[in-house]
């Protein structure tokens, strides 16, 4: 376990400090990576345009420059806004993202806290962001912000159910809620008696993978589920009144959450840090693990952003109907079939 990384024994507070620092560095970095690679580079290539070119080599420092710009801006709070709630809202959203990183395993020993209820914890804390979004929408004292906040609230509630139900299929098959145990279940699995490749759950849980990907798209409020922030209808939605570093919080939160969800999907369905051919008990797995996880995250993130750039926006009724009439029954059927097969086989 994490008490003995590289055979150095650390006191509890030292471990805690290191874990907090790792998380504090990891979250903005991952958000930046996703922002640069996908939002700027891939999106512009898909849309046959150049994208940012000026800041740094090939425009790679564009997001860092944007961040600096946001930090310099004046911190404007609307006159009739509810000041405390207005200020607290981005923090609530970012806190829910930070908490998700706690249970992401990057190697057999590299995990901030291996909770026995890992994935359940992740689902619970990611649902906290709805409170932050509603707070932002209401406290801005702006009807577009309120409409955006309510749209976001309705959407996040509707798509949280398929998200959790999709995870259930994996949990039933792995027989554990712990993220590490789910990775181990995939590493120890075998396909038709051949154990060399393990058993990534994307093969047996392909339906759950599809539902999970659609649901995280909606949870991230990005196209084709971007009605809460649809600029042509509600200007900027719940964050229309935010400027400067408070807006940066929402922006960072969005990409860091995308990264966290991609990491959860990579862990649940693609085997996480596990690589075929490397003994998961060896020290090597702790070094290769993070790289393997990162590659898998980028694959999942590519899918997420691919959908984002290529599909038009859903209408409110289409969005709700899709969740309640198609995704949830499909997820329930998947749970039933998985449960029966686990008992029978």
């Amino acid at each position: 376990m994490s008490e003995l990384i590289f055979a150095i024994e650390l006191a509890y507070w030292q471990q805690t400090l290191i874990k907090v620092l790792v998380a504090a560095v990891l979250i903005p970095t991952t958000a930046l990576i996703l922002g640069i690679v996908f939002l700027f580079k891939m999106m512009s290539w898909m849309q046959s345009r150049m994208g940012p070119q000026e800041a740094g080599p090939r425009g790679l420092l564009q997001l860092a420059a944007d961040g600096l710009k946001f930090l310099q801006k004046e911190d404007i709070i609307p006159d009739r806004a509810d000041r405390f709630v207005f200020k607290a809202a981005p923090v609530v959203v970012l806190a829910s993202t930070f908490l998700t990183y706690v249970i992401l395993p990057a190697g057999p020993d590299l995990i901030i806290e291996n909770l026995p209820t890992g994935i359940f914890f992740a689902m619970a804390v990611s649902s906290l962001s709805v409170v932050g979004v509603l707070m932002a929408g209401w406290s801005s004292s702006n009807k577009y912000a309120l409409m955006g906040g309510l749209r976001a609230g309705g959407q996040l509630i509707a798509y949280e159910l398929p998200l959790i139900l999709a995870v259930m299929g994996v949990v039933i098959q792995a027989g554990s809620l712990s993220m590490q145990d789910i990775v181990w279940a995939q590493a120890d699995g075998s396909m038709f008696g051949f154990g060399g490749l393990g058993l990534p759950f994307v093969i047996t849980q392909i339906v759950a993978f599809f539902i999970f990907m659609v649901a995280i798209q909606a949870e991230l409020t990005q196209p084709p589920f971007d009605m809460p922030v649809a600029e042509s209808e509600v200007v900027g939605g719940f964050h229309v009144e935010y400027t400067g570093f408070r807006f940066l919080f929402f922006f960072l939160g969005e990409f860091a959450t995308a990264f966290a969800f991609a990491a959860i999907a990579a862990t649940l369905f693609l085997g996480g840090w596990w690589v075929p051919g490397i003994d998961p008990n060896s020290a090597l797995a702790n070094i290769v693990g993070p790289i393997a996880l990162f590659v898998k995250i980028m694959v999942v993130a590519f899918l997420i952003f691919w959908f984002r750039f290529t599909y038009p926006r859903f209408r409110e009724d289409q969005l709700q109907r899709f969740a309640w009439k198609y995704l949830i029954p499909l997820a329930l059927a998947n749970i039933t079939i998985t449960g029966i097969l686990v008992v029978v086989l």
Binding site: R80, A81, D82, V85, L115, P116, T117, F120, F121, M123, A124, V125, S127, L128, V130, V131, L134, M135, G137, W138, S139, S141, L146, G149, L150, G153, G154, I157, E160, L177
Partner: protein, 178 residues
């Protein structure tokens, strides 16, 4: 042995309990004294999160997460949703109706007395066995919850499920008058 015994495990837990308890009580008082109904709902979030923290102190991790997922992630969100859609326009000042304060106080005191009496009568000075157990033992509590729920209490569980389903259907029937 008094409840606040100074043993190795209990010191940190007592401090954490004190901090969380004070926070929950303050938030609870603010919850019923605030003038704004949205603020009341947000204070409720603080109260419920603090109680989730207390569950974690009691090594009831699963209950704590359920508390966050169901109460904060679903119920308070529905409260906020309903409040924001109907009343609580910003800048209207007082949005809380205070007419029912006296009956509410009576119910609250009666509830507190009932719960304190029954808890004291049932547990008295017995101590929970959780203290001093290893984390490996405690880590199994989620599995224990599942086993108890789906083996020992399967029938009550199913009855509650059907009851909730009936309530759900009833709500839809009442809401749709076509």
């Amino acid at each position: 042995m008094s409840i606040l015994a100074v043993t190795e495990v209990l010191v940190a837990q007592n401090i954490a309990f004190a901090i969380i308890a004070v926070g929950v009580v303050v938030a609870g008082v603010r919850l019923v004294t605030t003038e704004n109904v949205v603020h009341a709902a947000l204070w409720l979030v603080v109260v419920l999160a603090g109680i989730a923290g207390l569950y974690i102190l009691l090594a009831a991790e699963f209950t704590a997460i359920v508390q966050v997922l169901v109460y904060i992630g679903a119920i308070v969100v529905l409260f906020l949703f309903g409040i924001m859609l109907t009343r609580a326009r910003l800048g209207e000042g007082e949005t809380v109706n205070k007419k029912m304060r006296a009956p509410a106080l009576v119910i609250a005191v009666a509830m507190f007395a009932l719960m304190a009496y029954s808890l004291w009568g049932y547990f008295g000075s017995t101590e929970l066995e959780v203290m001093g157990r290893s984390t490996a033992e405690l880590g199994q509590t989620t599995a224990q919850v599942a086993d108890t729920l789906f083996l020992t209490y399967l029938i009550p569980f199913e009855v509650v499920s059907v009851l909730l389903l009936a309530a759900l259907t009833g709500a839809i029937v009442l809401a749709r008058r076509d």
